[in-house]
């Protein structure tokens, strides 16, 4: 028979559990992930700590990326390609937007920039209202999901040579590069994401994925400066069919390609004006190689 003391103990402990629910909740991460809770990030002179990011991750990120960082948050089932992109699976340690060569881990700054910039054409918003410290902590938190960070160092950021002056010749040369490396196969001859391979594309997990449409006014995923676009050619978007062309095109050719791609974009640009004056025609996939 229970004593009154037992009743009160039960009553008080139940009330405590109601008031402090998290104390009774299961951990959000598996024990394996938990072992990496000491992960850090270094962004500028800020050091981020994974252990300090549990609250902001739970507040801002967990709905999509899930408690285990595997991209299986409660909203993931409603983000079906091709209209939406599935949330990133942090456990894989594979990231599209990097300053580092393909196959390597991104730098902490890359992850920080991704959180700050967000991704157009996805549900990932710009988190630039968070403090830099919170964002740096979240970078460390993202890293703690994947064992890759424990075993590998991030790649060395690629070197981007100074941007040359835009000229008509460079835009025409960019068109030649566009034809030669067959960008049109996915992105279409006018950059409208309607190339012959567009409908067949899938990411590394076998999920359908659409190529970037340069003409609809969207911001390129990894940033919209010329340097950002250049970087995409040379690093590729890991986990997607967009490869790195670092071995196929020279730096000056990459700049030419940047200028040519600007002619597709909805935003006003010098390149667009020049292309109009040049009456530049789209590449012809049916023409002999070298005459496209």
């Amino acid at each position: 028979m229970r004593t009154r003391l037992q009743n009160w103990t039960l009553l008080l402990s139940s009330a405590a559990l109601l008031v402090f629910p998290s104390a009774s909740s299961a951990q959000l991460t598996t024990s394996d992930i938990q072992t990496r809770i000491g992960a850090e990030s270094h962004v500028g002179n800020i050091t981020g700590h994974a252990k300090d990011a549990a609250l902001p991750y739970r507040r801002y990120c967990v709905g999509c990326h899930g408690p285990l960082g595997d991209g299986n948050g409660e909203n993931a089932p409603w983000m079906q390609p091709p209209m939406y992109q599935q949330p990133r699976d942090f456990q894989l340690g594979i990231f599209k937007c990097r300053s580092t060569p393909t196959g390597t881990l991104p730098t902490d700054q890359d992850l920080f920039d991704a959180i700050t910039r967000g991704f157009d054409r996805s549900n990932m918003p710009q988190w630039n209202t968070l403090s830099k410290q919170e964002r740096a902590d979240l970078v460390a938190w993202v890293k703690h999901f994947s064992p890759r960070w424990a075993n590998e160092k991030p790649g060395t950021p690629i070197t981007i040579p100074p941007e040359p002056e835009v000229t008509a010749e460079r835009i025409k040369a960019g068109r030649d590069v566009f034809a030669r490396v067959q960008c049109w196969k996915c992105h279409g001859v006018q950059g409208m994401a309607n190339g012959p391979s567009a409908s067949t594309l899938a990411d590394d997990l076998g999920r359908p994925i659409a190529p970037f449409n340069f003409t609809d006014g969207s911001r390129p995923k990894c940033g919209d400066t010329d340097q950002d676009i250049y970087r995409i050619f040379m690093t590729g978007l890991d986990g997607t069919p967009m490869p790195s062309f670092a071995d196929n095109i020279k730096p000056e050719e990459a700049w030419d390609l940047v200028f040519y791609l600007r002619t597709f974009m909805a935003q006003k640009s010098k390149e667009k004006e020049m292309a109009k004056q040049l009456a530049l025609k789209p590449v012809d996939p049916n023409a002999p190689v070298g005459q496209q």
């Binding site: 229970r2 039960l10 629910p21 998290s22 801002y60 967990v62 709905g63 996805s122 549900n123 968070l130």
Partner: protein, 498 residues
């Protein structure tokens, strides 16, 4: 008939304790087993974000939510336009709060009886009322009509189901692709950094910010209540990251009443600005200011022997409210918001002129009797101010602190003080100088909100709150002396939206 022995009482008590304990355990298990981590679900459903992404605790916005609002309910990605939504998506949310509350009013003048009949006497006593109750019902609907064009519509009812339009506006955002050019037109809340429409407390006195509604005793100016939704147009500009915000509004001096019934041809301007600073581990801190300056009628033309003609107000007099605001964080768990105010009304308002229409703030009762029978005074030609009249002025401050245990549990504490610095005198105190503290308010509110689950589909908060309010000199009195009055309310409810 047999009496209850001590052992019977003890057994009954033990049994009740056991049953209550069991109920708590069951509730705990249910709550603990609910999916962990809650917004205007219409927006949350659209973007797939949890409530906590935009709300410190629903409905109070955090910085990300404020930016979302400042961008016209857009995340500024290419999925903002409604064309991207499933055709079945309908951005409607309803919110209502079933509650239990106990209200205690310290001093109420009541009739006295002798021998079962009114004896003509009066007494002062405390009245406490408790019971189950309902809040009003809100239908929130808002979103984008097209990229950078958005709307908000909030039909709202009182607990009996009488509806009015609490908020209605259309916004045009990012004009010229600049976040510095945004406009809205309609009925909206002024750009208050500490938003009363997103207040975390629900009691009668604690559910508003006294600083936003303070009116000196006897004052007839209802038009300076910055907490009320107003009819007008607003310009808003902000930096891309929303660290810098400025706004300017021009509103009718009608306290948001429709049909130009209260005051027509009089306008009020409101400006606000703030700057946020990133202070590392402490978090993002924001400081700012606001100022309101306007004028409102004190003389309503009349017909039919003195009945005021709606919308005929003239003889405008001025008023102003201004203050500083600060939103401070001390790490991820602790926040403090401070609002100060200095208010002043024209001397005519101080003597009760101004609100000749006597509306209830939402287009309700209107004075239809000849002034002054049952109506506030009217500044008809030839009216003179009572001797000793002066322009009332006051200072107020609000401190609201939060302890955010987790996105699902927040503790709230608030203290507000309103202090008269110059009394209106004149007729307000029967021709003698008013006590310097007449009308002063001190109030505190404490409470917590616990969201047992948090998803991007719906929200539910178990809400508990206590409010205590003290006002000097406004209690009833049997001997004509000013008396102080205390009121308190304790409230528990389930605040849900879907």
């Amino acid at each position: 008939m047999h009496g209850l022995s001590v052992s019977h009482l003890r057994k009954a008590f033990d049994s009740a304790t056991s049953t209550f304990s069991l109920a708590l355990v069951v509730a705990t298990v249910v709550l603990a087993c609910s999916p962990s981590a809650n917004a205007l679900p219409a927006f949350a459903r659209k973007y797939g974000l949890r409530c906590s992404a935009c709300h410190e605790s629903w409905p109070m916005l955090n910085y990300f939510g404020q930016k979302f609002k400042d961008n016209g309910y857009q995340l500024m990605n290419d999925r903002d336009a409604p064309i991207w939504q499933n055709p079945g998506y309908w951005p409607v949310v309803f919110r209502i709060t079933p509650i239990w509350h106990r209200v205690s009013v310290g001093k109420v003048q009541v009739d006295t009886y002798t021998g079962g009949a009114l004896d003509g006497g009066q007494a002062i006593q405390r009245i406490s009322s408790s019971g189950f109750d309902l809040s009003g019902l809100d239908f929130h609907t808002g979103g984008t009509l097209e990229k950078n064009i958005s709307f908000y519509l909030l039909p709202s009812s009182d607990p009996t189901g009488a509806f009015h339009f609490e908020q209605v506006f259309v916004r045009f955002d990012n004009i010229g692709h600049s976040p510095w050019f945004n406009f809205k037109l309609g009925r909206f809340e002024l750009d208050n950094l500490l938003s009363e429409k997103r207040i975390l407390t629900l009691t009668g006195n604690g559910g508003i910010y006294q600083t936003y509604h303070f009116i000196p005793v006897g004052d007839g100016n209802i038009f300076g209540q910055i907490g009320d939704n107003q009819l007008g147009i607003e310009y808003l500009g902000h930096s891309v990251d929303d660290r810098t915000r400025i706004s300017a509004s021009l509103v009718s001096s009608s306290d948001g009443n429709v049909n130009l019934s209260t005051t027509a041809n009089a306008y009020t301007a409101f400006i606000a600005g703030s700057q946020a600073f990133d202070l590392g581990r402490a978090g993002v801190q924001r400081i700012g200011f606001y100022a309101m300056a306007g004028e409102a009628s004190t003389y309503y033309l009349t017909s039919g022997g003195g009945v005021p003609i709606p919308g005929s107000g003239i003889a405008n007099k001025g008023f102003s409210r201004e203050g500083f605001v600060g939103q401070f964080y001390f790490g991820p768990h602790v926040g403090l918001t401070v609002v100060t105010q200095h208010g002043s009304d024209n001397v005519w308002f101080g003597q009760g002129y101004g609100n000749a229409e006597a509306t209830d703030g939402n287009g309700g009762t209107t004075c239809t009797s000849p002034i002054p029978n049952g109506c506030p005074p009217n500044n008809v030609p030839g009216t003179t101010l009572p001797a000793g009249s002066q322009a009332p002025s006051w200072n107020g401050v609000t401190f609201e602190g939060h302890y955010i245990y987790s996105p699902q549990l927040i503790f709230i504490g608030r203290y507000e003080a309103e202090r008269m610095s110059q009394q209106a005198n004149g007729d307000v105190c029967g021709g003698v100088a008013c006590p310097s503290n007449l009308g002063n308010i001190s109030t505190y509110t404490i409470g917590f909100r616990y969201n047992p689950f948090m998803t991007s589909r719906a929200g539910l908060a178990w809400h508990n709150e206590y409010n205590w309010l003290h006002q000097d000199g406004t209690g009833p009195s049997l001997n004509g002396l000013f008396t102080n009055i205390n009121t308190s309310e304790i409230l528990m409810g389930l605040d849900f939206d879907f």
